[in-house]
Amino acid sequence: MKTENQRAWFFVLPVLLLVAFNALVPIMTVVNYSVQETFGNNVFFWQGLDWFEQILRSDRFHAALGRQFLFTFLILIIEIPLGIIIALSMPRKGIWVPVCLVTMALPMLIPWNVVGAMWNIFTLPKIGLLGYFMNDVLGVNYDMTQDPLAAWITIIVMDVWHWTSLVVLLAYAGLVSIPDAYYQAAKIDGASPWKVFRYIQLPKMKTVLTIAILLRFMDSFNIYTEPFVLTGGGPGNSTTLLSIDLVKIALGQFDLGPAAAMSLIYFAITLLVSWLFYTLMTKDDAK
């Protein structure tokens, strides 16, 4: 017996309203801005897809997008292997487990702008501990306010410091879920430590690593606060990542139309790359 009625909608309605107010309505406003031009006084003129074309053709956008991909690529290539290595070397049982876990979780508990401020003070030449140590003790010229390379190294190291723990905790959760029998069987089969990693640990960590890569991709691709507080996008435009650039256009220049178009393109890229990652990493399981 199947009852046909529309009553189920009442259960979905509250969630639908909530999602509408916190996601759909703001997004639609952005869509609205992206196809219009305003000169103030709440008067809007239809602009079509001009803003999209302008953004997609602009060198400024290309440069910011390039920097964004470079940043995300670098932190993923460092944080994922590093996180796995740290998780592998953490103890599986005993009193050191909670100590390690809490230590690992600490950087993630610090608010993002505080992280930026901390690293700013830490790395400033003359004042900061690291800045002083590099310049005046080691004699290495290190000034992230002047040198783009130093600025890049600093934001990468900061992100690795802040977020590798996430990969560690997820990978560790995957590792502890492997029953002892697997390790015992591998020992009896004469498997080398590399083969144990390759055929037991890595396959068992695959699901959590997929989540880790996706989370780190999305977070780093949308990163704003930490580099903004640390370098403000400088020196010059060298660390102006997409979101920093977006805020400059939207709130600095108050170009609502181009900013809205850029947000939508930005969103589409994030969505597309996440979808690609997810599809590629889970395709084996579907077979």
């Binding site: 029998a181 009896i188 089969d189 498997a191």
Partner: protein, 357 residues
Amino acid sequence: MAKITLSNLRHSYLSTPSGPQDYALKEIDLDWQDGGAYALLGPSGCGKSTLLNIISGLLTPSEGRILFDDRDVTDLPPDQRNIAQVFQFPVIYDTMTVRDNLAFPLRNRGVDEAKIAERVAEIAEMLDVVEMLDTRAAHLSPDNKQKISMGRGLVRDDVNVVMFDEPLTVIDPHLKWKLRSKLKELHQRVKATMIYVTHDQTEALTFADQVVVMQDGEIVQIGTPVELFERPQHTFVGHFIGSPGMNILPVLEQDGQIMFDGQNIAVEGTITGAGGTTELGVRPEFVTLSDTGLPARVRKVSDVGRHAVVDAMVGDTSIKAVVDHADVLQGAEVHLAFRQDQTRLYRDGWIATEAAQ
């Protein structure tokens, strides 16, 4: 293949055991003959898995030595002992094909590919897994996964002993029987020493030529399934093996006479030793309902198919009898008779009568 000798083996999981109660294994001395099919039977927590892990080298015993063909292997790691072990839950390498799974132990030992292909084909044929050789092992059913785990153990032809740690736990009941007969067949073909750990008496008795019964970290009896059934050396064996288990009745020993509930009971032969707590053991199969004998009242009759189990009370003690036809009713007054050559006396748990001549 090798003879395995365990000598004065003791193991404790504590670093400073203070007494016998701290030992998971108390004093084990045992020879496993080359090519034998053994079962290690006992309730959960009796130390069977500990013993198995010591033989495979996953655990180092606190005391004692392990010899393979008189060669001391106590300090060798598992991969140098040439043993194979099948675990309770199937262990397979998910990302590999069935073929690669079977070849894995050989590849790790640097065997050449031609030889590997030959061995894998042979084992796959033995286990009936030829048609799944090229599928990913992750997609197999639990019983096939367990077969592959077994295959990885059998693929090495120099293996000293293959050990099974309750391998049928996760297998569906109707497949258990199939896999069990497969094991028996494999043993006949490869002639390797096999040790099968289980708490299930049916599995142990069908698989093994020799059953080692353990309790509380001690071996209580080693024997063929028939010996364990007919002449349990300890009340524990009598109770643990058989369905229902042996009737164990508290008795008094007076001037060489065995008294139960005021009646004199005839036992199989000469009584040995003296003192201690005495108990009488007789299997339900050898208790009959008769006109004379112990007066009892029937408490329950359960029909289990081929026969019926009559549960009768003598005083406060329950005695079970296996009869062909349950022609008595609950509450009926009956008399019980014990077959004399199957009635034994136990002193402090251990057998205290000699077999009738």
